[in-house]
C-alpha cells in the first residue's frame, strides 16, 4: 500500500465513521435513556435529507437556514411521535420495536408516494465546493466541513450530558427512572428532550450528507441498520463507546475494502460485531443493567 493510498484510506475511514457516529449518537441516547427500540431512526435521517432538499434545493432558501428549519421540524416530529406513540412503552422493548417498524413503513411509503420517483440531488453550496489535496490523497471541502461539524456536535453533546443539569437529569433517568422522578425530575420532559436530541442528530446527518450523496426515500435503511450495529458494538448509552465503535466500523470499511473489496468489508463488520459480543456481551463500553 502506497503512502497516498494509506492517507486516502485514513480519510475515507474517518469520513464513513463520522457520519455513522452522528446517526448512531442519536439512537444511543434514545435507546439508552428511554429504552425504546427505535427501528425508525434511519427515517429521521431520511426526513432531514428531504427537508434540506425541499427548503434549499427546491425553494432556494439559504443553506444554513434550511438546515435549521429542517432539523427543527424533524425534531418536533420526533417529540410528537414520542408523546403520542412511544410514551406508554418506555422500558418495554416489544411494543416500541413494532411501533417503530410501523413508523418506518409509513414514512418510507409516504415519502415515496409524494416525492419518490427520482433520486433527488441537493446542490453543494458554493462556499463548500472544491477539493483539497493531502500528500496525494483527495478530500472534498464539503466532506471536510461535515467532519468538522460532526466533531463539534460530538464534543457539544458530551459536554451537555456530562456537565449540564439537563444532562445530569438524563443520566439519572437512564439509570433509574423511578428514583429520578422521586427526586422531582420530570421523566416525560427528559424523555421528550432525549427524543428531540436524537432525531435532531439524525436529521442533521441527513442534511449534511444530502449534498454529498443524494436524497431518496430508502436512504435511511442502511444507516438505520448500521447505527444499531454501532451502538451495540460500542455499548448502549455510552457516547465514548459509540464514537469508538463508529470509528472501528469506518476503519474496517475504509481499509478492509482495499485488499478484499467492499462486499467483503461488510462481511467483516458483522464478524467483528459477533466476535466482540461473544467476548463482551454488553458491547465494548456497555455496563450491565442494574
Amino acid at each position: 500500500m502506497t503512502l497516498q493510498m494509506f492517507v486516502q484510506s485514513l480519510i475515507n475511514s474517518i469520513l464513513s465513521g463520522g457520519v455513522l457516529i452522528l446517526i448512531a449518537m442519536g439512537l444511543t441516547i434514545i435507546l439508552g435513556i428511554m429504552k425504546v427500540v427505535n427501528f425508525a431512526h434511519g427515517e429521521f435521517y431520511m426526513l432531514g435529507g428531504f427537508g434540506i432538499w425541499w427548503f434549499f434545493a427546491e425553494h432556494g432558501l439559504n443553506f444554513v437556514l434550511a438546515l435549521i428549519l429542517s432539523v427543527t421540524l424533524v425534531g418536533i416530529l420526533g417529540v410528537a411521535i414520542e408523546r403520542g406513540l412511544f410514551k406508554p412503552f418506555r422500558e418495554n422493548a416489544f411494543p416500541s420495536l413494532i411501533i417503530s417498524c410501523g413508523i418506518l413503513l409509513v414514512f418510507r411509503a409516504a415519502t415515496q408516494l409524494s416525492f419518490g420517483l427520482v433520486d433527488h440531488a441537493v446542490p453543494t453550496p458554493e462556499a463548500f465546493k472544491g477539493m483539497i489535496q493531502v500528500s496525494g490523497a483527495f478530500l472534498s471541502k464539503e466532506r471536510l466541513i461535515v467532519i468538522c461539524i460532526t466533531l463539534a456536535l460530538i464534543i457539544g453533546l458530551y459536554v451537555f450530558i456530562k456537565f449540564t443539569k439537563a444532562g445530569l437529569a438524563m443520566r439519572a433517568v437512564s439509570d433509574n427512572p423511578a428514583a429520578a422522578s422521586l427526586q422531582g425530575m420530570s421523566v416525560d420532559r427528559i424523555s421528550s428532550l432525549a427524543f428531540f436530541i436524537g432525531s435532531v442528530l439524525a436529521a442533521t446527518a441527513g442534511c449534511l450528507t444530502g449534498p454529498i450523496f443524494y436524497v431518496s426515500p430508502t436512504m435511511g435503511a442502511e444507516p438505520g441498520l448500521m447505527a444499531f450495529v454501532v451502538i451495540v458494538l460500542g455499548g448502549i448509552g455510552s457516547i465514548t463507546g459509540t464514537v469508538i465503535a463508529g470509528l472501528i466500523i469506518g476503519f474496517i470499511e475504509g481499509f478492509g475494502a482495499i485488499p478484499f473489496g467492499t462486499n467483503y468489508a461488510t462481511v467483516m463488520v458483522y464478524v467483528v460485531l459477533l466476535i466482540t459480543l461473544i467476548f463482551k456481551p454488553m458491547g465494548l463500553l456497555g455496563h450491565a443493567e442494574k
Binding site: 475515507n12 427520482v118 440531488a121 442502511e222 473489496g261
Partner: protein, 403 residues
Amino acid sequence: MGRIKSKHNNRNFHFMVLAMGLLLLAAALLVMQPAPAEADEGTVNVGIMAPLSGPGAPWGIATARVLELQFKQINDAGGVKVGNKVYKLKWYKEDDKYMGSAAAQAAARLIHDLDCKVIFGTNGSSPVLAMHPITTDNKVPVFCNSFADDAVSPERKYNFRTSMTSHQYAPVVWKYAKGRWPEIKRVAAIGQNDATGKEETNHIKLACEPLGIAVDIELFEPGQKEFYPLLTRVLAKKPDAMDPTCCALGSASLIMKQARELGFKGKFISSVFLDPTLNGPIAGFDNIEGSLTVTWDLANGSPGERAFYKMWCDNWNPKEFNVSPTIFYTGAEIWLEAIQKVGDIDADKVRNLIESGHMFNTTIYGKVKFSGKDYYGVDHQLITPVVISEVKDKKLVEIWRGK
C-alpha cells in the same frame, strides 16, 4: 415480556380457541367467495406486475402509469379485434416489491385468481425467475425486463424479453470506444452485488477481453453511497475508463462524482444507462461531460420516440421519466399485435408467431423482431437498434446508430 399463565387466563382459554376457529372460518369464508374477476364475454384480463414499493419503485410506478394509460387508450379506441371478436382490456396491477417471493405470490393472484392471459413485467432477475414456474405451467406469456441470462431460455417457454441487456449492448459500445480511443487498455466495471450487477459486469468482461482490454470487476452492496473506499481500490489499478453499469440512477451518479473527486481522469462508458438530465444533478454535469452511453435522447429521436416522450410529459412530470416504461410499452404493443395477427389469445400461437421471426411494428423502435437462439437457445430476445450517444453540453448527442 410479562407473565404467561395465570388461572384467569386459563379460563379464557376456551374463548381464545373459539376465536381462532372463528378467525379461520372467516378467512375460509372470505376465500370461498367466487373469484370476482371471471372474464366477461368480450373482455380479456391482462396483468401488470411492477415493483410498486421498495427500491425498484421508481421503475415500477412509472411502468404502471404508462401501461394503464396505454390500455385505457386502446379501450377508448374500441378495443382489440381478435379473430372476429372485439375485446376490451381489463387490467390488474400487482406489486412484486422487487422480491422473488412477492412476485410468485403476485403471479399466483394474477393467474389463478384473476385469470390474466398475459403479464407485462417485471423488472429484476429474482422476481422474473421466481414467477416462472407459475406462468409457464399455466401458459401465460410474460414480457419481462431482466438482465439475467436465465430469464430467457428454452424451458421458460413463454418468457419474452423486450429490453436489450448489457449482453447485447456491451460489445457494440466497447468496440466503438476501442476504435475511437485505442489507448484504452484497462477498464473498471462496477456493479451492484446482486444478480443484475453480476451479469452486467460479466457481460462487460466478455465484451472487452477480445478487444484486448483488461477488466477489473468491483461489486458493491445495493444502496451503498460511500464509494471512496471502493474507488480507492479501483483507482490503484489505474484504469483508463470506467463502466458504472448499475441501473440504479443514484449509485451510478455517485460513483462518477466520487471517482472524479478522487482524481480519475478517464472516460465513463456506460453499457447500460446514463442520461445527463437524470444523472447530471447528482453526478455533476462537468464530471460526466464526454461520456459514452447506449441511452439515447427520446425527446430528439425518431417521430415515434418523440411521441412517446411527449405522452409522458403531457401526463406526468418530465423529471420522473425513466426507461422502464418504454420496455413494457413495447411489450404490450407486441402482444397486442401478435394476438390480432394470429386471431387468438392462445399463448402457443403467440409464441409461434414470435419465434417465426415476425417483424413487429412498434412505436418506439419501429420494425423489430425477436432473436437470440445462438446465445439463449431460443428466439425470445427482442432485438432493437443500438444507439451510442455522447454527453455534450449536458445533453445526449447521438453519434452512432446500428441497424
